[in-house]
């Protein structure tokens, strides 16, 4: 082929191709498991079709051929002419691999024609021919009605498929239908009672699972095989709220245009046109998302990092002028704006970091094929079980984890899981299970690889380690189980002598460990003989942010990742000893070597530094033993935004990256392994190393000054602000970080609140808007103009963290996990997101939607279209803060009524609390609307209906916003303040509920009808209690 295509175009094509291929991998294998899943087949067909179409544009003939071949097979599946067999699936996977190879060649600018596909296509053709012979007819190709017929315009845009032998029923649901998907579901049911539905849009699954929140077109289509008349079909679909029905019977002429020969030829122009039209539609469909290269996000993140730093400069300036400008109001304005800026840049930073996160499923899915192929290659039968695929983690970590994880999985399937025969003889299930799990835990995610194989024989491990000279016989005898297991992470250790095709070559477990640690993660191994092995890999959510300790070494400052630090110690100088010329320190019962960072990096001592009897030592782990890093001083712990380094910088041992401090100074991030590498050499050949080191450190110094220069040029603010090597700067900076954390950039997603977190009373609360204040805002405006009131969240407890089970004993943990599954903890977690300050938008959206629907309901019930929503204000109530609510209830002399609506399937509830007076007012209106007689005695009965409708409005919107399926339960009415109070107090006293308290103003004829919404969700810890 001639490579004249725009490189950008090729890149996009390859990106898409990769996505499609990943999809195909899964989908084809899913097909093997579930051959009758028409929808899957249709989707694969579509993907193959898209590949073919796009390849046509790039003139990739062999790719087009493969795409077409695959497409034809799927069509035969669809038509029921060909059965899904292992052979066909294998061939399809081969086709997929060939497509991948072509893509790779294209990416490397190689000749794509060099990849031979003829044999493969012949193979596919044989399948097709066999299928046709069997059925005594030629393969029917799905034909699109998009050719030059008179109705070309109409049909081209609609692009409606014609399925031979079917009648197409098109229906349009009235826009008045509030639940179009249920309407569609009803039609589907009614049609399927009299005819056979071959295909439908939206799919059956979509109708089954999706709520009416899904905004698909109001047109629905069914392709049916019918022995009944058109009239009967029409009758079946004649229900309310269907606007139009069209029934198209098959056009005989069209269906006969079957092309058997097409398979061997390239697509006709006409086909190209179709794919063009199709990919165009695809584009439009997915236009709400764009592809952004990760590198661009990196740049963006870097820039925002600069912004945050620039901002901290502002804070400093504001602080400086505070003393000069007497005009306090001006000063206050400067401060407020600065804070605002800080908050915004923090939000941006967080958002960008979030956008780098991708689901772990991308990583896991690779193993489906691997395990499948492995199973079929050997006489092992292995089932791969994935869970937590939706857990998100930094894209870069995913990429870096491919190799280590592959190695672990290989080990499991190769060494861990036994052959079916062995398993059977042991009384284990013949099918071995390999679990890949991911879950989030604070700022980390855990990836667990668990097999139910034979486990690791500790005795064997110890023997091998002794044989290999890693440990002595004596040491071996004294090892704990855990220590013995950890021997497998030693360089050069392998538990199996022979090398198999699957594992045993390439990297060892030591490299796996090293890779995980280079990502600031850790790996842990648990193994039980005959029960299996579990590897737990703990990885940070993102590489862009680092929790680090800043230390002072001579005139320099360095930062050390917290993940590598075991502890920090102030050790009296008398505990420092020298053994055989090596500096050591006594720490509790042991003696550990000391590494002076000043020596390693050849840093000049700080003349102003006052020597102290107490030495600062950071204890780190290196190769399973402890090492002390000697520094001058611990400065502070901080979240650092990691800056990307120039290429040559990355090669320096002991340095893994750099960051910028609030004062604009560059700080290097140290890497313990690199330091130890330097240190080892230092021990062995001090003189030579000194020389080498000088070069290294000279280069380092050179680079540092270059970086400093660079950063100065980058930021005008830093130029005006930088005071190089000025100690006070940093100290002020750090005190600012700790004392005024309201100004701190919000990186909450990734960071647990630091210990320095201010208590709530120290924090300034935004001025409250009096609830009684009359407002003419409509619902839309209020939420846009008053977002500040939602910021109340910032000041409330924010300790909603993912449930942390890591500290619990294994037995309890597994029981908890079971309980989780049973009790929908994940759903609760998702719902709890509403309480999180960073999800204020979610809350707003929910309120906006819920309010809108509630108002519609109220308007209809009361016949009063003047009802509007005024202000909405939300806050999280921690259990000790419910007095606000209780007091409010108490103050109301009229008595309150609560409509209580359980949130199912959780034990949560939504309360809609009204004053007695307002409740009776609503009832009056309701009765009036229906010209029903006014009540003689106050009867709450009609309010049941209000409860139903309001409750449904809010629960339904909750589903929309949080994507957690919740449903209203049977409503209850709590009459009287005392009862409401009792209920709230009861729940609060149990300590098991999170409360979200929303004050809503419903305005009615210029009057306020103030209603409080109270959401109660069970805390995650309740489930723990129950389970334990």
């Amino acid at each position: 082929m001639v490579i004249t295509q725009d490189q950008e175009e090729i890149k996009i094509f390859l990106d898409e191709l990769e996505e499609s291929l990943n999809y195909l991998d899964d989908a084809i294998m899913a097909l093997e498991e579930n051959p009758s899943d028409r929808e899957n087949i249709e989707e694969i067909f579509r993907v193959a079709h898209t590949i073919k179409g796009s390849a046509g544009f790039l003139d990739l003939k062999n790719l087009v051929g493969l795409g077409h071949a695959m497409e034809s097979v799927f069509l035969e599946f669809l038509n029921g002419n060909m059965a899904v067999s292992k052979d066909v699936i294998d061939t399809l996977l081969e086709c997929k691999d060939a497509i991948k190879a072509i893509g790779k060649a294209l990416g490397n600018n190689q000749n794509t024609e060099s990849i031979k596909t003829e044999d493969l296509i012949n193979k596919v053709n044989q399948f097709l021919q066999a299928a046709n012979k069997k059925n005594g007819k030629s393969s029917d190709l799905v034909k699109k009605v998009s050719d030059d017929k008179s109705t070309v315009d109409d049909k081209l845009t609609d692009n409606i498929e014609v399925i031979p032998g079917t009648i197409l029923v098109r229906l349009w649901i009235s826009p008045n239908e509030m639940a179009p998907s249920i309407r569609a579901f009803l039609i589907q049911k009614r049609l399927s009672d009299i005819v056979e539905i071959v295909k439908q849009e939206p799919s059956e699954d979509a109708l089954e699972t999706e709520d009416f929140t899904t905004q698909y077109d109001r047109e629905i289509r069914f392709w049916v095989q019918a022995d009944v008349s058109k009239d009967e079909i029409k009758k079946a679909v004649s229900v309310d709220l269907i606007e139009k029905v069209e029934i198209h019977e098959e056009d005989e002429d069209e269906s006969k245009e079957i092309s058997k020969e097409k398979l061997k030829t390239e697509p006709t122009n006409e086909e190209k046109k179709q794919t063009a039209a199709k990919s165009k539609t695809d584009e439009i469909e997915s236009s709400d998302s764009v592809r952004i290269p990760v590198t661009r996000l990196d740049v963006l993140l870097n820039l925002v990092g600069e912004l945050v730093i620039a901002n901290s400069g502002f804070v400093q300036i504001q602080d400086d002028i505070k003393n000069i400008i007497e005009l306090s109001h001006l000063n206050r304005r400067v401060r407020d704006k600065t804070r605002e800026l800080f908050r915004i840049s923090g939000d941006i930073q967080e958002l960008i970091m979030k956008s780098r996160l991708v689901p772990v499923g991308q990583l896991f899915n690779r193993f489906k094929r691997f395990v499948r192929d492995y199973s079929s290659k050997t006489n092992k039968n292995i089932k791969l079980v994935l869970s937590g695929e939706e857990t998100e983690i930094d894209k870069k970590i995913i990429d870096e984890m491919i190799k280590p994880l592959t190695h672990i999985v290989r080990n499991s399937v190769d060494h861990g899981i036994e052959t079916s025969d062995t398993r059977a003889s042991m009384g284990k299930p013949a099918v071995g299970t390999l679990n890949l799990e991911a879950s989030q835990e604070g700022n980390y995610i855990n990836i667990i690889v668990k097999d139910d194989g034979k486990g690791i024989d500790i005795e064997k491990v110890i023997n091998k380690a002794v044989t290999k000279g890693i440990i002595t016989k004596e040491e071996g005898d004294n090892l704990s189980e855990e220590e013995a297991l950890n021997l497998i992470f030693h360089p050069g250790f392998s538990t199996k002598d022979e090398v198999t095709d699957i594992s045993g070559r390439g990297i060892g477990m030591d490299v796996v460990k090293r890779s995980v640690e280079s990502l600031n993660g850790s790996i842990q191994i648990d193994s039980f003989i005959d029960a299996g092995t579990t590897m737990t890999i703990k990885l940070p959510l993102t590489l862009a942010i680092l929790n680090a300790l800043i230390v002072k070494v001579g005139v320099e400052k360095f930062c050390i990742p917290m993940s590598t630090i075991i502890e920090t110690q102030k050790i009296d100088s008398k505990n420092f000893i020298t053994i055989e010329g090596n500096e050591m320190v006594r720490l509790r019962d042991t003696i550990i070597p000391i590494v002076r960072l000043a020596d390693i990096f050849d840093v000049s001592p700080d003349p102003n530094f006052v020597l102290n009897e107490e030495k600062s030592v950071i204890i780190v782990e290196y190769n399973e033993s402890l090492v002390g890093l000697y520094v001058d001083e611990f400065l502070n712990r901080q979240e650092m935004v990691i800056k990307s380094l120039a290429e040559h910088f990355k090669q320096i041992d002991g340095v893994s990256g750099a960051s910028i401090l609030g004062d604009g100074n560059i700080i290097l991030i140290l890497d313990v392994h690199g330091i130890m590498k330097l240190f080892k050499g230092y021990k062995e050949k001090i003189v030579e190393l000194r020389k080498q080191q000088k070069i290294d450190s000279e280069r380092l110094k050179d680079d540092i000054s270059k970086l400093k220069l660079f950063s100065k040029q980058q930021s005008f603010l830093k130029q005006s602000h930088i005071k190089e090597d000025d100690e006070t700067d940093l100290i002020e900076e750090s005190s600012y970080e700790t004392e005024e954390s309201t100004q701190k950039p919000k990186i909450k997603l990734y960071t647990k609140r630091q210990e320095e977190k201010p208590t709530t009373d120290q924090v300034e609360t935004p001025e409250e808007v009096p609830v009684s204040e009359k407002s003419a805002f409509n619902d839309k405006e209020i939420l846009e103009t008053e977002p500040a009131t939602l910021d109340d969240f910032d000041n409330e407890d924010e300790e909603i963290e993912e449930a942390d089970y890591s500290d619990l004993p294994e037995e309890i943990r597994s029981r908890l996990e079971l309980a989780e599954e049973m009790q929908n903890v994940n759903s609760i977690k998702k719902l709890h997101k509403l309480f999180e300050p960073e999800n204020v938008n979610m809350l707003k959206q929910w309120l906006l939607q819920g309010n809108t629907r509630a108002i519609q309901g109220l308007q209809q019930l009361t016949g009063n279209s003047e009802i509007k929503v005024g202000q909405s204000r939300a806050r999280r109530l921690s259990s000790d803060k419910t007095e606000i609510l209780l007091k409010k209830l108490e103050e109301s002399s009229q008595g309150m009524i609560s409509f209580l609506l359980p949130i199912l399937p959780l034990d949560g509830a939504i309360h809609f609390i009204l004053t007695h007076n307002n409740a009776s007012k609503i009832i009056k209106h309701m009765l009036k609307t229906l010209s029903l007689p006014d009540q003689e005695h106050f009867d709450l009965e009609p309010l049941m209906e209000v409860t139903n409708i309001l409750g449904a409005a809010y629960t339904n919107s909750l589903t929309t916003v949080t994507e957690v399926m919740v449903e209203p339960g049977v409503p209850e009415i709590l009459k009287g303040t005392v009862k409401i109070k009792e209920m709230i107090e009861g729940k609060v006293a149990s300590g098991h509920f999170s409360l979200l308290y929303i004050e809503n103003q419903f305005l009615w004829d210029e009057e306020d009808i103030l209603a409080e919404l109270l959401i109660m969700l069970p805390e995650i810890k309740v489930l723990q209690d129950n389970a334990v």
């Binding site: 009803l186 004649s238 309310d240 309901g857 209809q860 049941m944 209906e945 449903e967 209203p968």
Partner: protein
């Protein structure tokens, strides 16, 4: 209107207000309300006894819910016409009811016209 005049309707709803509303909407159109049930259990009894042409069925009710009641009614009389009356947010239930043979559904709150059209369609066309 004449076609549907005389159609016998059983109203099932635990809310007396709601039952009143439905009655208020239907009676002027010539429908005959032959009974009102407050829960699913009552609904089954009354269906068996009164054999209405159409049942309007609330979904969430104490004692026995609308879905179970619909299932039971369809067991008693497979040709029974049941229209589910429910608030938004109960999609899963409505779908379940449809699977069990409900003929149509109406989302609360609804206008008079909606109820009448739905019943008319169901009665006329099955």
């Amino acid at each position: 209107m004449s076609e549907i005049a005389g159609t016998k309707v059983l109203i099932v709803d635990d809310s007396g207000y709601m039952r009143q509303v439905i009655r208020k909407y239907l009676e002027p159109q010539g429908f005959i309300i032959i009974g009102e049930a407050q829960d699913g259990w009552e609904a089954i009894q009354m269906f068996d006894e009164l054999r209405p042409d159409v049942v309007t069925m609330d979904i969430s009710m104490k004692k026995m819910g609308g879905i179970e009641a619909t299932k039971k009614i369809k067991e008693i009389e497979p040709k029974a016409k049941v229209i589910m009356v429910s608030a938004l947010g109960e999609a899963r239930f409505i779908k379940e009811a449809i699977k069990s043979g409900a003929s149509d559904f109406i989302i609360k709150p609804f206008a008079e016209e909606r109820l009448v059209t739905s019943i008319t369609n169901v009665v006329k066309k099955g």
